[in-house]
Symmetry: D3
Subunit: 136 residues, 6 copies
């Protein structure tokens, strides 16, 4: 159950069709997942969202594609986005994530959550050593 | 200002000293940061926290050391842990993170946050394609 | 599946009936949504929650009714409350929110999430200009 | 640096003075902490907030006063509210929390955070056994 | 729908069987809930997670068993972990939590969330009285 | 203390200068706040962030400028972004937000947080009435 009405024939809209075509071409698949089908209710929001995802996730850069998906999953877990956890876990798997790497990702995400709550509960003061402007 | 009294001479306690020694040996540095100095108020909590951090972050595994720090930073940002963002950014930098990689990490973390909020606002339904038990 | 047993005949309890009557009268509808039907397991909690919602959301004030619902949706998205996102989106729509306004709300909520994560990742220092006590 | 102007002589306002008097009487101390001094910028918001805190935290009930503070701290840590972590840790200590209990609280809060992130990362399905309406 | 493939015969793995046996013995029940059945996809992650949960939740300590569950529920609500809210509410009920205590827990958790957001919105400054190092 | 080195002469970089000039022109002020001065460490990230903020916050649209700032503050509070709460509260005030509106905003944000935690704690089931595809 979505909070917007999902278009039944989204590609009847030329702007939506252009984005869907680009998604299929960029990802080399016929599959356009529900995130984009739902965003199709507003072509402008669909366009700007896809433009950012394509630029950051589907363009060669200083981080390799799998690492980028692992970071994406980590944030999605911490923000409790069920859809995003599923879609980016599928994407990571498609980019080669093994079961062992997945288990390790989950172990690190939960360890970070644990020490995040510990540091916030203790209100640990910052070490001056972290200051980038101090002489070293 | 912490929520616990930080021991003034933490290594007077043998259990604390053993952990601090292990931190220094594992990291090959004399620097023991405030997280551990604060946790020293309870040797048991200090021991179990360090044991987990050492096992997951300082042991060779399926993910490389820098990738693990990037994941840690991502979760710490999403959980708004100021101390953890600082300490793990410093750790990532010590493990070779460049300014360009840092910028890209921040760009991906914020993109993920953006689509997390979008998917939660839309309440996007799960694609059956994400189901691991379906035939493929 | 709730974590409490939802009463099968909630209005058999006089305190619950009084709240449900007030909800119907205040909202001018026969529909009492599941939030209140579930809260009926504890009449005191039901009463105090409804009193606050009525006072802040159903009483004329300095912010107009639609703006108040937009703020409510924004917080509910950020806190990952699926039920609240649905119920307050429905409420906003009932108060006149158009599809274009909904798309814009979602765009702003996700932009805010993006810069929230960016500012937390950068640990941006506060500008003294934001200090209300400085001369201007 | 607050986002509102803190009144310099808050008790010049009769409604503020009445709340401050009630805080002092209820807590049997002369100390009125900054939360209330800041909320004094809007007497109505001050009154409704204090009324709820007094009713739930300072009135005998089914949970003992220290347990209530531990719950309060737990939520405040998870919501990254630095001020609330400090103020409710001080309150818990005033109600008898020992260092060992504090350490245990922090250990449980961080364990919960760890398994919360794990369950969200795995998207664990609900056990039918948790359904309150099934025969037992 | 999980993000990992749940083993169909988890106890065929000796390490998994050992953990499940310990869960059954520790809890004195035949019921092994889905969290552990899902974690069985990685025996190492299963072992370390159960070890921590057993040590903190199933061992006599300075906080009583029900209080520990209440704290666990509080964190799980704030972190929007649906599975954890369900499983720990069931655990709390098994340890004697009454409906009135449950209602009070929920009231305090929501009150804390309310003042957490208020304090973060106001950016209330810390009282020097909370500093543990000041003379008293 | 930031996690990146803030450029001492940011406008020596032509891309940074172009963005700062656009910020000053768009906002009709000489003041360029720390968010942008910090983001200047990576001109690309600065450009894409400003482009989005300008497009959504500084362009006439279906929501009025003040409403947009109120939504922005609401999300920033829920995400515990101290910097963003300060900067957007200042922006809202510059766009005419009165003290009474500010108090009401904070009251609604905290009410939403309260019922968010309540609904998540109760795990309230969705009303079929919220489904947009049902006949009405």
């Amino acid at each position: 159950m979505t909070t917007v009405r999902i278009p039944t024939d989204p590609e009847a809209d030329a702007r939506v069709k252009a984005v869907f075509d680009d998604i299929r071409a960029t990802r080399n698949t016929d599959f356009v997942n529900q995130m984009w089908r739902t965003l199709a209710f507003d072509p402008g929001l669909l366009e700007s969202t896809w433009a950012d995802v394509k630029r950051l996730m589907a363009t060669p850069s200083t981080l390799d594609p799998l690492t980028k998906e692992l970071i994406y999953i980590a944030v999605s877990i911490a923000n409790s986005c069920s859809y995003c956890v599923h879609s980016h876990t599928a994407a990571a798997r498609a980019k080669g994530m093994t079961d062992a790497q997945h288990a390790e990702l989950l172990a690190i995400v939960s360890l970070a959550a644990r020490t995040n709550h510990l540091a916030n509960g203790l209100q640990v003061p910052l070490d001056p050593e972290f200051d980038l402007s101090r002489p070293r």
